[in-house]
Amino acid sequence: MSIEFKNVNYIYNQGTPFEYQGLKDISFNLTDGNFIAIIGHTGSGKSTLLQHFDALLKPTSGEIKLAGFDITSKTTNKNLKSLRKKVGIVFQFPENQLFAETILKDAMFGPLNFGMDADLAEKNAKKWLKRLGIKEELYEQSPFDLSGGQMRRVAIAGVLAYEPEILCLDEPAAGLDPVGRKEIMSIFKEYQKNGHTVILITHEMDDVAQYADDVLVLQQAKLIKHTTVADLFENPEWLAEHYLNQPHAARFAQTLKQNGFKLKQTPLTIEQLAKSISKKMREYNE
């Protein structure tokens, strides 16, 4: 099975002075079980696109097929619960996602709502809160009495707690501290490897390079590229033309090259960069 968008258009506030076309004729096919990154500038339509995955927004025209569902402008809200059980979204602003009286109740809401029995719901909620670094002492506290990064962690745990088939993440690492960011990105990667699809919106090219298989690039409501990570970063000119970055390691290698220190391959991570620098130096010494 796969995730298919066919000629999807989306118009905000149609027929009002605030009419704005958020998506223009978007078509793509994604392979289930992959890790997909969505990148693009501020306002390019990334969040708009993501909200179509669970029919929070329905296409003004066009068609979406995923997880056994068909979504069009005519889709009613009737069967959406079973769709949303399969497709979980962590929103860009975690505060908009939190609502329950306590942190634990918040994280249990999803599993209970989607029919898990209470014991299992609690077990799952606790498991994911723990993995997201939320201490047990906090479970009975209001989720709104947390720091920004802690709220983000609770919001992520609340979606992972019902273990959706397709996990959609809207800049999930914004506001996380550097150690937390690494830990949580690798939790997403592990989640994908365990047989789920992960869709990640991010501005962080280092994360794209390290975790994603495929990339969708949006620009002004249009899909301008759908390719593999390797292919994307092999095209620095194309990236520069579209004001997009390479990963930090690749940018550094580029500067080295401009100054006469050439590496055989473009490194995408610090580990690769250090390896090729040291290899080059060893070759010389031998």
Partner: protein, 282 residues
Amino acid sequence: MTKQIIEVENLSYKYKDATDLALKNISFKVQENQWLSIIGHNGSGKSTLSRLLNGLLVPEENPDTKIVIDGLELNSENLWKIRDKIGIVFQNPDNQFVGTNVQDDVAFGLENRNVPRSEMIKRVDAALSAVGMQSYKNAEPQMLSGGQKQRVAIAGIIAIEPKIIILDESTSMLDPEGRNSILKLIRKLQQQKGMTVISITHNIEETLHSDDILVLDSGKKVAQGKPEKIFSNMEMIKKAGLGLPFIYELKQELSKNGVEIPSDVSTEEKMVEYLCQLNSKM
């Protein structure tokens, strides 16, 4: 001659019903016109500290505690004068919106400060174009993307030209291009208007350009100093649950691969220079 613009002594804070202190006996100073970065793990107390500086939160009565802003001690008498001096861009821009549309929102702070209408219109326009949002003047907040909201929140604060600007992860959702241009803008204001900047951030690269870095760990101040000093103390950084800038990580990785780089090679430019010099000898 530099002047001290912020002085904090023995500041602690506990939220109602919390078991732990969110801040534990913090003291630090900030010189006027400097760029101070505050870093620390999630929940270390950064936002709490920012809210204490402008009196949004009030510490418990304690004779040893002192907060002085631009020569004025923070107390109920001076509260409004101090609020006029400090502009905070909050972590979540949704909490900042008060106007029904973008331009009213940016005008709000100016109205509060009784800026004449003609001047106000000028400043709102200037602030919105500075952050690249002039074409969204009439848009309502819920119609904006995440990054657009952050830009508007920043415009709302630069319009009032505060003496001290506090950015609480205010560029966390901007694309790298957008983030750079906003940081450039703030730097320009710092230089041209003598503004003091406090930037709370998880973006370690960004802190390399600051004059001073303050590190918080579980409510405690564990270090303050220039970037080179802070990031050469790897043990402290690790203990505080933080990451290293790219250049320091690269040095670590190279060392794992048997390549040792001298410690004075502490910026990317120097590293390029160093490697290329070796290369030319090869």
